[in-house]
């Protein structure tokens, strides 16, 4: 005879393994974050992120291109420890230290809006969509500093072709991941999360525009926008949406995160332009990262030096108004 003894624990009360592990990781992440931010707020400890730089997995079969020949590359350490990636915190050293619990795999990107049929694509398949190329590009931040970065990626045009947008698609919107569990910066309403960026269709189709999946011949580190980010070398760096989860084709111009944050300071186009100052600081010159304490500023070039290739996209437009 079976006399049912009342169980001590109902099955519904048992924490699943997944939730249990997540919770531990979350607590760990929160702890690390707390210590790190306390130290940086105190300002006494230099967060020596550079010492902790880890290299990533190599990408095979990258096609070399002539872009950026003769440019001196910015050190890997600098490219991966001096980042603006507010989802991981607003200080430049935050992304490198705060992104360690971020998981760029598995990853799928959903394609929506003005397309024949909405679809999803896994990051592995994006790697196989077209031969991956190395593109050495100058990167000019709106804060008047710059780097030279050897990206690995594919022309965005290839991905767009695969997405099959309809004739109504005039703009492309890029939406970044915003997971408060693994992206501590998202818990703070500094920007209207998720991060949104956008391009006009002809800008998106331009051969210079790429979806980067790596740098220095290796897979993108988390702090640089893993697993996939936008790179538009003639625009200010903030146009390069990171950790993209969604691409939406639209008929109307998208409202980007920075346009919402400061419409008088950040426009939709955000082309590098030394003659149009940011309302608060100059854009005429820039500091090239890696020069050390005693290297002077260099002059900023129109369209970040890519005027020959992209100038015609903006003929007849008042770049003072369309900043």
């Amino acid at each position: 005879m079976l006399i049912g003894k009342k169980p001590d624990i109902f099955p519904s009360e048992i924490t699943s393994r997944e939730v249990f592990d997540n919770r531990r990781e979350f607590i760990k992440a929160a702890g690390f974050g707390l210590i790190a931010s306390a130290a940086s707020v105190a300002g006494l400890l230099p967060l020596d992120a550079r010492a902790a730089v880890q290299r990533q997995q190599k990408i095979n079969g990258i096609v070399k291109t002539p872009y950026g020949a003769g440019e001196k590359l910015t050190d890997y350490e600098d490219v991966t420890t001096y980042n603006n990636f507010y989802e991981f915190g607003t200080s430049k050293s935050d992304p490198a230290s705060e992104s360690r619990f971020f998981k760029p795999s598995p990853w799928t990107v959903s394609i929506e809006g003005e397309v024949k049929k909405p679809k999803r694509i896994a990051i592995e398949d994006i790697f196989k969509l077209a031969p991956l190329e190395e593109r050495i590009y100058r990167m000019r931040c709106v804060e008047a500093w710059s780097m030279v970065i050897p990206w690995v990626g594919l022309p965005l045009a290839q991905l767009i072709k695969w997405a099959e947008p309809t004739g109504n698609a005039k703009y492309v919107e890029f939406i970044s991941a915003a997971d408060p569990q693994t992206m501590p910066g998202v818990r703070v309403p500094v920007l209207d999360w998720p991060y949104v960026e956008g391009l006009r269709m002809d800008e998106a189709m331009h051969p210079l525009t790429i979806m980067a999946v790596g740098l220095y011949g290796e897979v993108l580190p988390n702090q640089n926008g893993a697993p996939m980010r936008l790179v538009v070398p003639w625009k200010y760096g903030f146009k390069g949406a990171k950790s993209i989860v969604k691409i939406r084709f639209t008929e109307k111009m998208p409202q980007t995160a920075w346009m919402k944050a400061g419409p008088s300071e950040y426009g939709f186009y955000a082309n590098v332009n030394p003659t149009v100052d940011h309302p608060r600081w100059t854009q005429a010159s820039e500091r090239r990262i890696g020069g050390g304490l005693f290297s002077p500023r260099i002059k900023t070039q129109m369209f970040n030096g890519y005027a020959d290739q992209v100038g015609q996209l903006y003929t007849g437009m008042d770049l003072r108004k369309n900043y």
Binding site: G43, L44, P46, D48, R50, D75, E77, D78, T81, Y82, Y86, T90, K92, S93, E143, W145, V188, V190, L191, A261, G262, D277, R280, W281, T282, A284, S285, R287, I289, G290, G292, L293, F294, P296, R297
Partner: protein, 213 residues
């Protein structure tokens, strides 16, 4: 708070002097070890600016301590903390003029005229110069009553200094807001006591028995 003896005060001042030099020592240490981050100029600029603000807040807290606790001796530390504020402000400005702009006076003057955060920062520094120059005992004696009036400029220096930080920041205002809040409290305490004293004075005036005619 019990006032320290002369000897204790000397050691306290020496200790304070050493502590106030730590931020500079740290910059030198990091510089020697090539550890000033990927953007060393910005780092030095930010750090020296931050410490100028901190020293200014410390300087401005000595009077509220007197108002709140009645303790007076700490006022003797004010000249030193004030001069350290000026010291870090000088390093900040030097970094800007030299390392950031390499004495490109055209670019610098454009920057001051066109960009409000630079203008208020520069104004704060300009207003701090006469305060530093007249901080010695000789000038205090010479200026007498006017010295106090002149040194009221420190409030303007503080407001401009905090605005300078606030307007420079792109989006995350949390750090400059801390300084704004501290300054608001430090000035608020002063205003409160001023109002209280005035009220008390008015009251005693009211209750003064009329002089017999």
């Amino acid at each position: 708070m019990k006032a320290p003896s002369k000897r204790q005060l000397f050691w306290l001042k020496t200790l304070l002097f050493g502590i106030a030099l730590i931020p500079l020592g740290r910059l030198v240490w990091l510089g020697v070890h090539d550890d000033l981050t990927a953007n060393p100029v910005e780092f030095v600029e930010r750090s020296t600016g931050t410490w100028a603000l901190v020293m200014l807040m410390v300087t401005l807290s000595l009077t509220p301590i007197r108002l709140l606790t009645g303790s007076v001796w700490q006022i003797q530390l004010r000249r030193m903390t004030g001069l350290f504020m000026f010291f870090y402000a000088c390093l900040h400005l030097t970094t800007y003029v030299w390392l950031d702009h390499w004495f490109d006076w055209m670019a610098i003057s454009k920057d001051i005229v066109k960009h409000p955060y630079v203008l208020v920062g520069f104004s704060a520094f300009a207003l701090a110069v006469p305060l530093a120059v007249t901080s010695n005992t000789y000038m205090i004696r010479k200026l007498r009553e006017n010295w106090k009036k002149l040194h009221n400029l420190v409030y303007l220096v503080a407001i401009f200094g905090v605005l300078h930080f606030l307007w420079l920041v792109k989006k995350d205002l949390r750090e400059p807001m801390v300084y704004a809040l501290v300054l608001a409290v430090l000035l608020g305490v002063r205003l409160y006591y001023r109002y209280k004293n005035k009220l008390a004075k008015a009251r005693t005036a009211k209750f003064t028995p009329p002089v017999p005619q």
